[in-house]
């Protein structure tokens, strides 16, 4: 029927406004990275049950990619950040 995601730019919106693009944790390897790294990045996903970070594109809103951290079993949402913020924070670590 519905579930809601609170976009940091647009506010609370129904899931119909978003398109999900999968796990946010894998990082695009450098062009010179080893085959194994590229193989993992393109083909291998953990598909965990529980707490999970994934990209949600706010297609019908601000058109920003967001990283939604949620429990994929209960749909409890722990946080929503702009993907650029998320990548920056990841890069800073």
């Amino acid at each position: 029927m519905a579930s809601l995601i609170t976009c940091p730019h647009c506010g609370t919106r129904p899931k119909e406004e978003f398109s999900i693009r999968g796990a946010a944790a894998p990082k695009r390897p450098s062009p010179t990275a080893k085959d194994e790294a590229w193989h993992r990045y393109v083909y291998v996903r953990d598909n965990p049950k529980g707490r999970y970070q994934e990209y949600w594109h706010h297609v019908a809103g601000c058109r920003r990619f967001l990283v939604v951290e949620r429990d994929n079993l209960t749909h409890e949402v722990f946080g929503v950040t702009d993907a650029a913020e998320f990548e920056r924070a990841g890069a800073a670590e």
Binding site: H9, T12, E16, E17, G61, C62
Partner: protein, 182 residues
């Protein structure tokens, strides 16, 4: 030869025949608004936003953190283009033909729009002057509250017919009338 520059509004096909007087709930289609996309370049978001909010004769509409629509019903596209291109750090695209601007107002406007958008339009939540991109009648739209009971809806031209028909359908219960503003 010279081309006879007849400009057609996409809703010309949908709004025809005898126009009645508007009811209290009315949908007004603005025939030739000026609408530009304004994109702020990296790191220039704040200054572009400020310039846009200070600009005369245009109303800014929020789309995303570095994107707005600049809307004018009073001045021409060239004037707006000149004004916007003076904003440092911004790129602008004329969308006046690509977007359709409708204004819906009346005592039942929130009831009608609750059938069209999922966003809470209560005045304490979606205040006067606020605008946002959202799904409206299954199309990506920009919705702005321009008065207590007045909303402005901007939709892509190709979907305007569909959105217009659905808005009118949702307004039947409240005797929504429609017409071009001019």
């Amino acid at each position: 030869m010279s081309i006879n520059l007849l400009h057609r509004h996409v809703l010309d096909d949908h709004i025809s025949g005898f126009e009645t007087d508007p009811n209290p709930n009315h949908l007004s289609v603005i025939r030739r608004p000026v609408i530009f996309s304004v994109l702020a370049h990296a790191g220039r978001e704040a200054e572009v936003a400020e310039a846009l909010w200070n600009a005369e004769d245009v109303a800014p509409r929020f789309c995303g953190p570095s994107e707005w629509l600049a809307v004018s019903r009073t001045v021409g596209a060239e004037t707006v283009a000149g004004m916007l291109s003076a904003i440092a750090g911004a790129s602008v695209v004329d969308q006046s033909d690509g977007r359709v601007l409708m204004e819906i107002f009346g005592p039942s406007v929130r009831k009608i729009l609750s059938r069209c958008v999922a966003v809470d339009l209560h005045p304490e939540v979606f205040e006067e002057g606020q605008s946002a991109a959202m799904l409206c009648c299954h199309a990506t739209a920009n919705v702005a509250r321009t008065g207590a009971d007045t909303f402005e809806i901007i939709v892509p031209r190709s979907l305007a017919g569909s959105v217009f028909e659905e808005l009118m359908e949702m307004g039947r219960e409240h005797a929504l009338t429609r017409g071009f503003a001019d």
